[in-house]
């Protein structure tokens, strides 16, 4: 039945995209929290933060984009959980379709929904004074990193989506992910942090990803950060995919 994989995935993707189009509030909710953080940090704390950059909103945006993704993928888990709970997942699995297309449709939907949220957040940042001298290539590189990061976190989200017993359980996993950017270079330079915190901040994935995107936005030459960032994204992606697929196979066997 694998011959139908692309067709079935396209049909199911169309279904999930309809869900999103009919509940635009989920995308807006996803974007509201990062926008609120951005307003808070730029207009309340920002004056007191010495980021060593001319425009704090420009300094802040990369971290805000990662928070947007971390908050967006909890909806991926939520949508998957609802499919499991409502029985429609079982209906699909008992039909002559390529079975993994059910999962891929959710993953691709997550990508589309997060890209929409990201565009909304970037537009708000532009209104708040974010400016970038980045060229087309640099923007493409930023988009590439964000897509990889979204895919990596989405495959993590698949696991609670498949296994959760309650709605709360399906989305609770994203709280630690939302917290990670705060202990990174996203809001303040890591140099001000005390030793152990600084060591954690400088060696966790968010810092390298934030630094890479920031360099791309400001037109700086990207150093080793981009390779570290890519390694983290691909590494998380592969591990999460492996565990998600193992969970999925357990569910459908």
């Amino acid at each position: 039945m694998t011959t139908h994989f692309f067709g079935d995935t396209a049909v199911l993707l169309g279904r999930s995209l309809r869900h999103i189009a009919r509940s635009l509030d989920t995308i807006i909710t996803t974007a509201i929290m990062p926008i609120a953080f951005m307003l808070l940090f730029v207009y309340v704390f920002g004056g007191a933060i010495n980021s060593g950059s001319d425009s704090y909103v420009s300094y802040l945006l990369p971290g805000i984009l990662l928070i947007t993704i971390a908050s967006g993928i909890s909806y991926t888990a939520y949508r998957l959980f609802l499919d499991m709970k409502s029985g429609i997942f079982e209906r699909f699995q008992s039909m002559p379709i390529a079975r993994s297309s059910v999962l891929w449709a959710h993953v691709l939907t997550s990508l589309v929904a997060n890209l929409v949220s990201l565009v909304v957040v970037v537009l708000v940042a532009l209104l708040m004074g974010f400016r970038s001298g980045a060229g087309v290539l640099a923007w493409l590189a930023v988009a590439g990193i964000l897509i990889l990061f979204t895919l990596a976190l989405t495959w993590i989200a698949v696991i609670p989506g498949l296994t959760a017993k309650s709605v709360d359980g399906a989305s609770a996993f994203s709280y630690p992910l939302l917290f990670l950017p705060f202990i990174s270079s996203a809001f303040v330079p890591t140099a001000t942090m005390p030793g152990p915190v600084r060591a954690f901040a400088e060696n966790q994935p968010v810092t390298s990803i934030v630094n890479a995107i920031r360099d791309l936005f400001t037109g700086q030459p990207v150093g080793a950060d981009i390779w570290t960032a890519l390694a983290w994204c691909v590494g998380i992606l592969v591990v999460a995919y492996f565990f998600a697929m193992a969970t999925y196979r357990r569910k459908i066997s």
Binding site: D8, S86, I88, R91, F92, Q93, S94, M95, P96
Partner: protein
Amino acid sequence: MSTDAAIQVRGLQKSYKKLEVLRGVDFEVAPGSIFALLGSNGAGKTTVVKILSTLLKADAGEASVNGFDVVAQPAEVRQSISLTGQFAAVDEMLSGRENLVLVAKLRHLKGAGAIADGLLDRFALTDAAARKVSTYSGGMRRRLDIAMSLIGNPPLIFLDEPTTGLDPEARLEVWDAVRELAARGTTVLLTTQYLDEAEQLADRIAILHEGRIIVNGTLAELKRMLPPAEVEYIEKQPTLEDVFLAIVGHE
């Protein structure tokens, strides 16, 4: 063991951890018949249905559906069945018509729109076709659920407790839908905990109790197992169901 049975089950066993749900289930279902699997809550009816629809693997025993082994030929089994699960598996965010089109496309059929319109008409859902399913009543939802199962004309349909949680009117609607299915030659395996439902619909009834089929026969055969009927004269009072249906104007 006849080779042309729609369903053949031999020595089916299944445990969840230490809980033995099925301890050697045997039965056969003839093509074109309605077979009711009767049992109380937790008797293992849903487990049997899940194994036969390839959603679950048995620990031991054999099962074949439309001549295909559920373990060795799951794709062929899925092609030849439809499952209507315990809870109406419909997409709440889509309209009734979109639900039907979705299933028709997933069954790789041409003319999905026309198939959807035909079923909407047949199940008296045309007026509600464009409405989101989340606005449907329980009976409408179940009818849509069954309509979705008919797409592609699978020769065998599993109905897992199709009327649990429905009000009396909706229940009669579902019964009519099931009778019509059988009239068109579809084999139906129905699970239910309602004795009258089995009595009303089924050609054969099997009672699943403590992991085994303890009785299997036609209604007449089952009745012969009891002591002969005694003749008594009683005044027949209307049941509450009769009263309810008379008041709300069901014809």
